[in-house]
């Protein structure tokens, strides 16, 4: 038996969570979330309330568990053998790690864009259509594909070659196709794991513009190791660091402006100013 994820009703009790001064509800809330790979603790005790309809950036040095945290938000870590999550992650009042929640349901509502563009080896059309079809979409498929591609600012470039292989597109186009594919299933949150790290600066800018546009409709959480990018596009920034046992910790989570100008933690400042990491 699986239970549908409830809509925001149960307000979570106030904890010691780090939270920016966001207004207007939280899209996802992590409560004392820790991730283990076997005996190794990758990330410890993360409290994090991610505001809705904003762009939240996660930054930090390599190996601090940025991507791990991101993948916890839509249960992608379930796919890794030996991975174990403790604590709770609330999405619209429901702990997505409850035993009666089906990760398949979570993943449609919390979509993901990966570091390396990974379109399916199918046509452009089919790349967008497939996700909606398996999720039971019953409307006009052509129209839906066009809408998703327009939302991802890709329609003009591919409208004449929808039946060609997606692998023929450039890297930036492929990544926007992956975003279109993610949007098509109408998620509420889009997780992006260094979406522009494999792209050239121009393609990167296009992705960033696109993220800005999308943040009006969706909550976006983006992992990046490019601090300028975080500063340019995000409303909020979470800084993760790694301790001497190689375990990641959330150090600070606040308005992006604050993080980059007057961070409250010494280690954040060190990282931002380039004295570390």
């Amino acid at each position: 038996m699986t239970v549908a994820i409830k809509h925001p009703a149960q307000a979570q009790t106030e904890t010691v969570s780090l939270s920016p001064n966001g207004t207007g509800g939280n899209a996802i809330e992590a409560e004392k979330m820790s991730v283990f790979y076997g005996d190794f603790c990758a990330v410890r005790d993360v409290y994090m309330k991610v505001p809705s309809n904003k762009i939240t950036a996660i930054i930090g040095p390599s190996g601090c568990g940025k991507s791990t945290v991101l993948r916890c938000f839509n249960r992608m870590n379930d796919l890794i053998a030996g991975a174990r999550i403790e604590g709770e992650v609330f999405f619209q009042g429901q702990n997505i790690y409850d035993s009666d929640v089906d990760p398949v349901e979570v993943r449609r509502r919390i979509g993901m864009v990966f570091q390396k563009p990974n379109p399916f080896p199918k046509t452009i059309y089919e790349n967008v259509a497939w996700g909606t079809r398996i999720n039971g979409f019953r409307g006009d498929m052509d129209e839906m594909v066009e809408r998703a591609l327009r939302s991802a600012a890709l329609w003009e470039e591919v409208k004449d070659k929808l039946q060609q292989s997606a692998l023929g597109l450039s890297g930036g186009q492929q990544q926007r196709l992956c975003i279109a594919r993610a949007i098509a299933v109408e998620p509420e949150i889009i997780l992006m794991d260094e979406p522009a790290s494999a792209l050239d600066p121009i393609a990167t800018l296009r992705i960033e513009d696109l993220m800005k546009e999308l943040s009006e409709k969706y909550t976006i959480i983006v992992v990046t190791h490019n601090m300028q990018q975080a500063a340019r596009i995000s409303d909020y920034t979470a800084f993760f660091s790694v301790d001497d046992k190689r375990t990641g910790n959330l150090i600070e989570f606040d308005d992006t402006e604050k993080i980059f100008t007057i961070p409250s933690q010494k280690s954040t400042e060190d990282y931002i100013t380039g004295r570390f990491g």
């Binding site: 839509n74 992608m76 796919l79 979509g111 990974n118 399916f120 080896p121 497939w130 996700g131 292989s165």
Partner: protein, 431 residues
């Protein structure tokens, strides 16, 4: 910390430890020479392989074509009536000739098989050649001698077999393919063996492909690899791939022929000939070969599935697909070319297998086409083996021709499988 400490204690390298100038140049030349030597060794290895293949082909072709010396029991020209040669006589004359030259009993048997009124002129003509003219092969020569030592072939034939007719014969003919077995080398064919091979291979594929691919999917996608039981299964599958095929023959004999006789003989359906088949049927053979290649298909399938990039799976899962949807829509189509390649190789092996089928009980002499999975059978390799073990030379020529047929069959099956695989590849990567 320790690491950094060590680095600090290492002193600067002394001068002259690395070769420089001419010394460096000579050293590079020496290294390149060593590399070229190895390249030559590898080329020689490839060359040796090609030479071995050429020798094999030469041997087969040499035996398949060449001069034969034939002595007829009755010269066809003696059978001419009123000046007309045998092959221009009308049917009623031919029937008369046949009646005059063979026993009444044999004549009655032919009449019972098919009345002479219904037989065609060609059919009666063939019967006369077969029963009256009765050509006998006295000697055969290889293709090489037939081309380069033609004179000595004729001289030898003249000397040893006076009165014999010497002509160039291709042992691989259309009638060789379309005729069923015979104890007369000139009339023997491989038709039943071809049908037998095709039937057996069809059953082998039907049995082992779905089970093998299914097992590969389970082992790669569902089984928890850390569990002792699954590790045990995996190790055993790998070992089974190396078990000698005759062991599989014993297995097939014990299980399919003996224990499951009711099923493999067709008795449970009320069909099949108990007196002749008794479990030594096409079905038993196909299942035995299926078991034999199952580990190969599983291992190849697993490797193909493992090679599917995890980014593809993640893309599928990230859109809210179930595990099965990811497998069916993405993993399997991507893995299919690899799975098919493995299956092609495995089936090629099955077509050429002889030993297990000897044990399972392939018949060596089958004059009737197999009519279904419950028929007794022979296959091409068995036929070849049986012919090569005959004392007469001419059966060796038949065996060589049968090897050519087997090779052609194998190559055409492989080619069609490769075409199928390429189609699969193309339809996925629409350009």
């Amino acid at each position: 910390m320790n690491f950094i400490h060590q680095r600090q204690t290492v002193s600067q390298p002394a001068e002259g430890l690395m070769p420089s100038g001419t010394a460096h140049h000579e050293q590079v030349v020496a290294r390149q020479r060593r590399g070229r030597t190895w390249a030559v060794v590898f080329q020689a290895a490839v060359l040796a392989g090609i030479l071995a293949l050429c020798a094999l082909l030469f041997n087969i072709l040499n035996q398949s074509f060449g001069y034969v010396a034939i002595v007829n029991t009755i010269d066809p020209s003696e059978l001419a009536v009123e000046g007309l040669p045998l092959n221009e006589l009308p049917k009623d004359k031919l029937v008369e000739i046949l009646e005059a030259n063979i026993s009444a009993g044999l004549m009655r048997r032919y009449e019972n098989d098919m009345p002479f009124t219904e037989r065609s002129r060609e059919n009666v003509h063939d019967l006369i050649l077969e029963r009256v003219v009765e050509p006998q092969v006295q000697a055969t020569w290889g293709l090489f001698d037939s081309i380069f030592a033609r004179g000595s072939v004729f001289a030898e034939a003249e000397e040893r077999f006076p009165g014999s007719e010497v002509y160039f014969r291709s042992w691989l003919t259309t009638s060789f393919i379309s005729k069923s077995q015979s104890s007369e080398p000139l009339r023997a064919g491989v038709r039943t063996a071809i049908f037998g091979s095709l039937w057996v291979v069809a059953i082998t594929i039907l049995f082992s492909f779905p089970i093998g691919v299914g097992a590969a999917i389970y082992l790669e996608e569902y089984a928890q690899k850390e569990r002792l039981l699954n590790r045990l299964i995996q190790t055993n599958i790998n070992n089974l791939a190396g078990v000698p095929s005759i062991i599989y023959g014993m297995l097939g004999l014990a299980i399919f022929v003996r224990i499951l006789e009711v099923i493999t003989s067709g008795a449970f359906l009320g069909i099949g000939d108990q007196s002749t088949a008794n479990g030594r049927t096409i079905l038993s053979a196909g299942l035995t070969l299926g078991l034999l290649i199952l580990p190969l298909i599983i291992i190849n399938g697993q490797e193909a599935i493992r090679a599917v990039p995890s980014s593809l799976r993640q893309a599928g899962f990230g859109l809210g697909a179930t595990h099965w949807q990811v497998i069916w829509h993405h993993v399997l189509p991507s893995a299919m070319p690899g799975v098919l390649t493995g299956t092609i190789l495995a089936v090629s092996r099955a077509i050429g297998e002889t030993a297990p089928l000897v044990v399972v009980g392939a018949s060596t002499f089958i004059a009737l086409d197999p009519s279904g999975p419950f028929s007794k059978f022979t296959v091409l390799p068995i036929q070849i083996y049986q012919w090569t073990s005959r004392p007469q030379d001419e059966f060796r020529n038949l065996a060589a021709a049968a090897i050519l047929v087997l090779l052609i069959l194998l190559l055409s099956l492989n080619a069609s499988a490769v075409l199928l695989r390429n189609r699969f590849d193309r339809s996925r990567a629409v350009s």
